[in-house]
Symmetry: D2
Subunit: 463 residues, 4 copies
């Protein structure tokens, strides 16, 4: 977590003012519960709220720090400062509790708050993806597998699948949130020896948490591991989208481009450049969110009723992973929102290679018209290679014939070169009439390939 990659709302969750506020609420609610049980006087519990319920100003925080320097114990410092406000009844505060009751329940609240911000982030991202998906639903472009032109898709499909991916993440995060939203006020080794379980139940209810069914000194760390693992999975999908955009913005592809504000400078040395720096940055940020996963897994195994090895880890990855993921989701949403699409370039890419993306379509047509799969494959592959070669690709491939000279090129045309070669193939001629082939390829190739887009959208976005 560094300021450059942080947003204030998420940072605030991890700041002392919020932490102490949560501590106060835990203690104050616990007092209420204890007073209901008759363990402490009702008046004391009332005083806690009346005199203690005020913001943790920088002055108060400084005072707590000052006390901690002396006592070397954060919760004791907090309680001592609180006592300065509420006076004598302070001795009823924290009765029967241990520091971990406060610290661990506070962490649950902080992680829940963080999860809520992240859920809101996801909602905004989903809205942006949905909007762009519908905008580009029928915007054809070449689909690629292995980085190689395959068959047409639409740009909307890309947004739609990212939408579906992040919609799954929303579900996962919701469950991960439930996983860490538990409350433990169960004492030094989790036995409730010195405190009634009803206190835990009461505080849990007030804070929107569930009571931890069985704790030790701490809440079990498989919960936190599952939470951070979920953040890591989400981060990986951010990288997934980022890689797509980085490819799209490549000079040779130019199907999309990150929005570049008027006046924004690119490279200091090379004035001509527009770099996809946001998505590159997201690629790196994804790595840094992911790096929380392994230590969170290593944190699960604690000695007996707890050791404190997990604590320093969580002090770092708690803020780091949530702040960075929040920032990254925000940046990604902005990026998607303003992403500049170049439909003409998409079409150009589609048409750049003589209709070669129809190879499978021809193959299928042949097999459906009596040509064996093996023969059909050979015929189509042979002519596809001719197309590539006619565009200067794979010129060393000895299987393919010589490249076209200029006259032939003109005859072959640019966009329908696959047909040009197929129509001259002797083996093919034996199998079917050139007219039929021509008819096939004159049908609109794009709509052949995109005819199910509506169906897919219905699946993803509902009716």
């Amino acid at each position: 977590m560094i300021p450059r990659y942080s947003r204030p709302e998420m940072v605030a969750i991890w700041e002392p003012a919020n932490k102490f506020r949560i501590w106060f609420e835990i203690e104050a609610h616990a007092c209420d519960a204890q007073s209901r049980l008759g363990v402490i006087p009702a008046a004391a519990a009332k005083t806690v709220w009346e005199k203690g319920d005020k913001p943790y100003t920088p002055e108060r925080i400084a005072r707590i720090d000052e006390i901690e320097l002396e006592t070397k114990h954060d919760v004791i410092a907090f309680l001592t400062e609180l006592a300065e406000h509420i006076g004598e009844p302070s001795r009823f505060v924290h009765q029967g509790m241990t520091s971990s009751d406060v610290l661990d329940t506070c962490l649950s609240v902080q992680l829940s708050q963080a999860a809520d911000l992240l859920l809101a982030d996801l909602d905004k991202l989903l809205a942006a993806l949905k909007r762009r998906a519908f905008e580009a639903k029928d915007m054809p472009c070449i689909g690629r597998s292995h980085g190689i032109h395959a068959e047409p898709v639409t740009y909307g499909l890309k947004f739609a699948r990212f939408y579906a991916e992040f919609a799954r993440h929303r579900d996962r995060l919701l469950r991960a949130r439930m996983d860490i939203a538990t409350c433990a006020i169960s004492g030094a080794v989790g036995t409730f020896a010195n405190i009634d379980p009803a206190v835990e139940e009461y505080v849990a209810d007030k804070l929107g948490l569930t009571p931890e069914p069985v704790s030790t000194q701490v809440i079990p760390r498989d919960r936190h591991a599952a939470f951070f693992a979920t953040l890591g999975v989400i981060a990986s999908s951010i990288e997934n989208v980022a890689i797509e955009i980085r490819h799209a913005q490549r000079t040779e592809v130019r199907e999309a481009q990150e929005y570049f504000a008027p006046g924004q400078k690119g490279s200091s040395a090379m004035p001509h450049k527009r770099n996809p720096i946001l998505s590159e940055n997201l690629t790196g940020l994804a790595r840094t969110v992911r790096m929380a996963v392994v230590p969170a897994l290593e944190n699960v195994a604690l000695w007996h009723e707890r050791d404190i090895s997990h604590s320093s880890v969580e002090r770092m990855i708690g803020p780091d992973a949530t702040v960075t993921l929040d920032f990254a989701l925000g940046r990604l949403t902005g990026l998607i929102d303003k992403l500049v699409l170049y439909p003409q370039n998409m079409r150009d890419q589609l048409n750049n290679f003589g209709g070669i993306h129809d190879a499978q379509r021809v193959l299928l047509y042949l097999t459906q018209n009596g040509v064996s799969r093996e023969d059909a494959y050979k015929i189509v592959q042979r002519n596809a290679m001719r197309v590539w070669k006619s565009f200067g690709i794979d010129p060393d491939n000895t299987d393919a014939p010589a490249p076209l000279d200029e006259t032939e090129k003109e005859a072959a045309g640019h966009e329908n070169r696959l047909f040009f070669f197929l129509s001259k193939d002797q083996d093919l001629a034996k199998a079917l009439r050139v007219e039929d082939l021509k008819a096939l390829l004159e049908e609109d190739s794009i709509s052949y390939h995109t005819k199910r887009v509506d169906t897919i959208f219905k699946r993803v976005f509902g009716a």
Copy 2:
């Protein structure tokens, strides 16, 4: 995945015979669907089942391998061998599909099968943990935080919290299973250009999968990432239990011991040793399951409509992580099932330090009887230190008085030394009567600490 850490049922999932069987089922069901759509003749679909529905024997697999050597394409090799059985109608098989449709859907089936075994493993482990939990529900032992004696718990609470932890894992795994149980038969770039989505829906239904709402050439890898991350979280809890047992079996602790079969040899050089090798082994196995998580996360970001970088990773971590986790869960269940408990040693540990685990209890009693928290803390800490020192612990601590001589030791007794010192404390004497303190400490300390165990068990195991 190595034979030493493998069980046959899980290994079988990843063997060619199972893989080809699944491929066959995908193709055969797809034929049924295509014939219903009128795309291929009903007779052809029927023939596929009639002639193709037989086990993949070693001979058939060898034949497929032979063909693959030639074609260098696994799915084509599979289809060619299948054709040798079903003859001419074979040309209707795989119509409009791509290899990935078969491969990726097959992986979904394999991972679902693996998840089913793992769920069954978890059920067995949960049963063992529950049985041992109730057996040891009221078996007192010292609870430890930081490896230091804290306050009493019962051994049953340890099993109960492991039960709760693995019960959570069962839920997580169930969701992870749903996450990867999807079917994609959507063609080269996921557009269904050459195949009706109804085929996907039909096959999905037959195989117990859900249709993937939007795929590219492949099923999106966030699903697999979430799956392997879940395995990693589960593995971490195996380590958690293993660490507990390794500590319990330490020579100085001896509260529990892995079952050691009659005749089993321990150390070759040191005939006196009984080592917790199973739980040590589980600690290592947990690491190897976890190591699948990061590459699974790295697999999420693919280029455009797919690149194949994820494939080699999954060929390894698919079998490795599931086979090892299955083995580890089985080993852990056996270990828990037969774990030898030493209640007498537990009691000895509890009583070894003069009742010092009642320090907090006394502290609370003092504060509830008018002593300020600060004073009470000082009094109790001071006398607790005397107890430690009287047992030869922390002898350099200058705060504490000289250790007891033999006469004093006898006077002090062994099990109630905290009371001995407290009763001589002048400050304490001012605050309360020794008789009251004595009365407090004569109450059964153990039942004071364990009085909520039933409540906790009810939370964990239900009424």
Copy 3:
């Protein structure tokens, strides 16, 4: 480690025959050392070699396995089988040693053997990279940062930097090899209580190892951690090269292509495709080698004088990481060796954008001729944007003027469009004479950019 990604020589290192052979050598050399020390009879040591020095055939291995089933102890099984060959003197074998002395020293030998193979792999890779570097030393192509055209480089520079990278890896691996090439024959807790350190020194010398200065029951695991971390770093560079090639083979780039054997099939569904499957595969393999790093780091912290948690991890990552890395290095070498380069496509890419890669050169020229840096930047950026826009790129950029109509395009030409716009810029005209600019841009741009290639090659490959 799976057969598909394995080579026999590396696999053999991890097979029982090699392992038992190393065990035998350790024991036999130890006997020699013990006999020199007078601990065991010289005749016994002689007999061990005379009767025991024969290959571990499948029959012998089966016999050892059979004994292990009974004793459940691998080293004892090994010694028992050995005793069947050498008879009575067998009781002098293994005197004063523990199993770990044999197992851990054996692992050192196996890792050293593995390192030797990997070093040889690196030598072959370096040779291939060097050959291709010189072949392409003066083959110009566009350099790209952020995936965006920047300034010209040569393809040879790419190979040269990969060469330098793997040359560094060679050094690192050599040191990592030294790190794990130690021998420990120091007894149950490393004290040499029952064996003279001279035995360790003798065996170390015979096996080409260094004696471990201080061991416990085992060799310290920081050594192995450093070793596997080094494999992970090397793997990451494999990914680095693989990514370069995958980009180069993209349909839109086509500067290089993996060799495609005549007759090789590509996609089953799309006969027109040539996919960079080797480098995609290497990308995945890199991830699987890397996944050994974290568990190797986790293995370092052992309890007291050893626990055995590291063992199961090493049984897996030892073979897995070395076998996979060996395979990957071999595959990468083959790929580099046969990589098809397309110099014409490289030139086309270079010239595709009107000489825009000279933007910085013009900028520098302006500042060196009295224009302030700020003004120069603005002038060059403005005209660079005009170039992009004239090629249909970034058409929404409101800063840039309208695109060229056909007449203007003809006037502007294709390859020198940057000059075309610059020469019309009024601000520029004030700063310098168009003739000077023309003179500048008529100099060969490529040789301007590549004039230091020889210097760089000298740095990398020496004089």
Copy 4:
């Protein structure tokens, strides 16, 4: 990196003042080099030093930040602020360089500075370990494998092996430092098109770096990966030491204890506790240093002549990993320095189990006196089990005889119970005379086990 786990000297390396200072030096030295080459006037280079060579005060940094807000480019903001100080000659600054030349070379300097601090940290740690090693050289304690008592060692051996481990780390870090101490001033794509390589060589020399033989826009990231991997390996050894101490401080072990300052508070709820919180904390910190390794490996593969995905990662892990490791090494050194040892407790642990640690010694004696290994093992194991059982351990083991009654216990004594049982063993009596056995066991067992300690110390610390 959070204040709680940071030390000011390391933090300062990563602060703006240091960063800008390094930037300034790079630029100023580059000006000198350019003036020697005649590219810029000597007077200009002189002015840069004369007017620019002053500290980066908070005011200057604020000014740079202000400019960056406008230009959104850090290097340009830096140069603009610098120009405000040096005036007109500022136009000669940064000539022919790109931002990456400055940024990447600066990172090399920062990482070198960080490495220097870490090397000094290691020196202090090594000194502490050495001192404690010699102090405890002959302090006997039980050695443990698998957490089970094995045979005696000395506490000094533990420190000695940690010394050897960190001495290896010193070597590794030194090499890692060399790995990242390179300088690149090679322009936008590493071709030196606009700058003479002599500038790079000159600046490198002035900054104590080596010129990068071949760079792209950036220094190759395998260097940084090797660096961070080394930090991860070192961190793992910190965990190794920490685990040893955490075990030593366990209530049941009590062989050592972290120093506890007078007046320091332990648990807030349990006044009797002294927890090994420093070593627990180090366990966690080790995890957080290690988490930098994987993203550093993922950073190696960059697109073409660079993408910027690595940058955000390094902005975080650069400070985080070095600051945390520095803090952890400092904390570890303090911990080792003041660690309280309890030799009497060590001796008690040694003697607690009736001399059972001599089991192997007896075994060896038997085999050397004509008993077969198998028989000797059975005899010794049988009696070792009797010893355990007589101490109430493993009472369910049906192989062992009934536990001793009180009379027998007295007869058996405490410290030499192994002999007691052996001397009654009928099979043993057949093999040797009880007197011989007695003579053997009356020799000092401890000095038998520790006789090689001097040899080992000589190996580790030299003559």
